[in-house]
Amino acid sequence: MKNGWETVIGLEIHAQLSTESKIFCGCSTRFGDEPNANTCPVCLGLPGALPVLNRRAVELGARAALALALNINERSIFARKNYFYPDLPKGYQISQYDQPFSERGELEIMTAERDEGGHPREWLPLKVRITRLHLEEDAGKNVHEGLPEVDRFSYIDLNRAGTPLAEIVTEPDFRSSWQAYDYVNYVRQALQWVGASEADMEKGNLRCEANVSVRRIGDEKFGTKVELKNLNSVRYMQRAIEFEIERQIELIESGGRVAQETRLWDERNSETRVMRSKEEAHDYRYFPEPDLPPLIVSKDFIEEVRASLPELPDARRKRFAEEYGLAYADAVQLTQNRALADYYEEAARAANNSRGAANWIRTELLRELEAAGLTADKSPVRPEELGALLRFIEEGKISGKQGKDVLIEMFASGKSAAAIIEERGLVQVSDTGEIDAIIEEVLNSNPQQLAQYRSGKETIFGFFVGQVMKASKGKANPKVVNERLKEKLNK
């Protein structure tokens, strides 16, 4: 960013809670069914229908709130947000307003600026204040494609109407696009981690909006903020913010003013565009939803949920760094998701080598998993098997290089390390007698080279190592070969 400027970013995330049924009726939340298949009088907004709160949505909302260190209010109020839109069957959305489900979270995340190639520089902690997390229903969607006479008609699919959402709003605490990027990734991961949401942006079950403004460093007042929408991946969001920062600075420096507006990210053209302007400023006329009593959750309920939460990613990441002596970046990578973190801990225990396990998982296993499109919990190589393989290497039974080939075969065939080593006859020869015999043979059959070496051409040492390894068909322990060869040659 240009010198002398500061960016101020606040984020709003809508995460779909992973319930089986909708928040105010019994309809399924399944994705991809026939349009309007999962609807009933309640989610169609038929005259006379009334909402009934799904307790599971409250439970998952509580998991999400606690995972993000928010305080859950024992009493919260649903409110109607009134506006007209064809995908909103009742003409209002049941949401929460002045008494939300949870408030005032403070989260510490790790964040790093990236270089040109997108590689993190230095990981630093950042405190993020989360204003609130509240519960609300989703709207349906308008369909303009793939149906008859779309030039004359719009269609509406209300399958999504009434899907439970958690809206998570931060204070304007981010100062760069990468901070926003790291925060959204953290939230995604935390929600998945506690089972509150699939948090998959591509499926649309996590959506993100960013409020971006710029000001000259030293200014107390915030600049005019622009709301960014259509951010369909975390990366798009980061790029959209980056673009928007540059746009706003350029605009101000050239004597213009930032307009308070909503802009859409256009990924194809890599720019933000003004969204079709709203005809009038919205006044949502919030008021308490008379069809639902106040939502009361007990202290006991909150504590039960808290006790049932797994160790959260942030805590686990710190523990990995301290307890296993991992670099922070490695800990971050190994706690991308709960399955991988669990996998790592089991493998480290089985290998009795936490750094070794970390390296093998990061460099070898993740590559295979990625190629196969699998998560760690679905890995054909179980963590205890990876541990066994690492022990074979540690004990010198096979070389590290052999180990890599073995792992690939383990992954492909599902066989154990021991079985593959046995089948391939891969056992490494470390027996000095056996190796000495091979060395003897190599030296005898290469008298010329031996003479050269003895006359001072020590660079030829590698030639002998290669010959010995070749004669042993690669089975000789290179370390032992080195030692014995030096001894023989220098005799």
């Binding site: 005259p47 109607r80 009134n82």
Partner: protein, 485 residues
């Protein structure tokens, strides 16, 4: 047998003793409905085929033991009955047929009641005279030049004229008790949360409650027993046990304390109505009740508070009528905003539009605190007034309406005069308490006069018992000019 004057007990007895058939009862009711509809315009839809089919089923089963088996009932057209229209008296829902039953309807069906049709009402239950129906006003069976009251005027006229013994209406601010009073029948508004609102088309959700019309308290009790109780589809229903209302009727009422808020018997109250209600209060004294003075200091704000809260909620509840999914849609709209505007402009009547605008205004940012929030605060004060009064008495007696039925067209140009019709009734809606209107006399013009009793939460049993005692002491035997007989 003259079914038009028969109470439920007699009717049920006749069917069980096979003195008549369910079909005969239902057919006579439908014939009366059809015959009188030209005069009264009480029904918007009469379901002859469906009702007779259900009657035949009951006759064929030979089992008429459910508590309302064979009892014809009329349903206000803002309560959903599967397969029948639910127009709410509005053009905007005109062709709409409900695909599901309201919970109250499910329960009536299970009890064997037979729905003969949907009754006319003020559009979306907004009105006190039934003149706001898009399908023409209902006429009062006592004098067809006069209104039957509203908004449940069709149901009131159907019961008063003897077409059906009982009918369902709905109340947001007096819409059952006021027409009951103007038509000379009993009308009960239960405690908020007593009867499920699921399937009752919303007007003011925090006030709405299904109510019951009958020609006597016992018939009303029979129906209440069936439809009351917790419903998992309505989170605002209460998990309070449902007493056997009919068996709690009867016996003497000695020692009952009737509260009288004298302050409300002042300005605007018709002299004949005052005399008649005073007379009813004296009748209670004669029955051994103690008459005590009570105060409801905030009751005078009820119309103002009511018209803020009810319209605010209505402005939101009526947003769904946008022409997108069901009901009426204005033609020749080629763009979304104009489709919305034209649909709502052509679909809603003047009073509904007035209330949507009022409600939108009081919820608007900058006005919310001054109107909606303030109204909620006064609502709490009104509630507290009542709770305090009920420490001194078991029921509060007042007139139901300031005057007997007025002429059609008399108040249509003066909404405020119209709104004042609900001055005695809408406090009970604001306080969420039950109220019942009981006929107590005729004016010199031969128009019925009613008084109301209001009780604390869940005191329907007590109100019905007091109403029944009054009926025994001073039977109201007058019949309207237009009857099914």
């Amino acid at each position: 047998m003259n079914f038009s004057e028969t109470d439920i007990e007699t009717l049920r007895h006749a069917i069980l003793q096979r003195e008549t058939t369910t079909r005969a009862v239902v057919e006579s009711s439908i014939n009366a409905a059809e015959k009188l509809n030209d005069t009264l315009n009480a029904f918007l839809q009469i379901d002859r085929a469906g009702a007779l089919r259900r009657a035949d089923e009951i006759d064929a089963s030979g089992d008429a033991k459910q508590s309302l088996a064979g009892v014809p009932i009329a349903i206000k057209d803002n309560i959903c009955v599967r397969g029948l229209q639910t127009s709410c008296g509005s053009r905007i829902l005109g062709p709409y047929h409900a695909p599901y039953n309201a919970t109250a309807i499910e329960r009536l069906n299970a009890a064997g009641a037979i729905i003969i049709g949907k009754t006319n009402c003020d559009e979306f239950a907004m009105g006190s005279s039934n003149e706001n129906s898009a399908f023409g006003p209902v006429r009062n069976p006592w004098d067809t030049e006069r209104v039957p009251g509203g908004s449940s005027g069709g149901s009131a006229a159907a019961v008063a004229s003897g077409i059906v013994p009982v009918a369902l209406g709905s109340e947001t601010g007096g819409s059952v008790r006021q027409p009951a009073s103007l038509c000379g029948i009993v009308g009960l508004k239960p405690t908020y949360g007593r009867v499920s609102r699921y399937g009752l088309v919303a007007f003011g959700s925090s006030l709405d409650q299904i109510g019951i019309f009958g020609r006597n308290a016992r018939d009303v009790a029979e129906v209440l027993k069936v439809i009351a109780g917790r419903d998992e589809h309505d989170s605002t229903t209460a998990d309070v046990p449902v007493p056997d209302y009919t068996s709690e009727i009867g016996g003497d009422i000695k020692g009952a304390r009737i509260g009288v808020p004298r302050d409300l018997f002042g300005e605007g109250l018709d002299e004949e109505v005052r005399a008649s209600v005073e007379n009813a209060i004296e009748a209670y004294r004669d029955l051994g009740a103690e008459i005590v003075e009570v105060e409801l200091p905030h009751a005078k704000y009820c119309i103002a508070v009511y018209y803020i809260i009810a319209t605010a909620e209505a402005s939101s509840n009526l947003a769904r009528y946008d022409g997108v999914r069901y009901g009426f849609r204005a033609e020749e709209s080629n763009e979304l905003r104009s489709m919305y505007r034209r649909t709502r402009d052509e679909g809603f009547g003047a009073e509904v539009k007035r209330r949507i605008m009022l409600g939108t205004y009081v919820l608007s940012s900058g006005y919310y605190d001054a109107y909606y929030r303030k109204a909620q605060q006064v609502r709490t004060l009104i509630r507290e007034d009542f709770l305090k009064a009920f420490e001194k008495c078991d029921a509060i007696a007042t007139p139901t309406t300031p005057t007997p039925a007025f002429k059609i067209g008399e108040k249509t140009d003066d909404p405020l005069a119209m709104y004042l019709n609900d001055i005695y009734t809408c406090t009970a809606n604001l306080a969420s308490i039950p109220g019942i209107s009981i006929p107590c006399g005729l004016s010199n013009d031969g128009l019925p006069i009613g008084f109301q009793l209001m009780g604390t939460y869940w005191s329907e049993s007590n109100l019905l018992r007091l109403a029944h005692a009054f009926e025994q002491a001073q039977p109201f035997t007058e019949r309207p000019r237009i009857t099914a007989h």
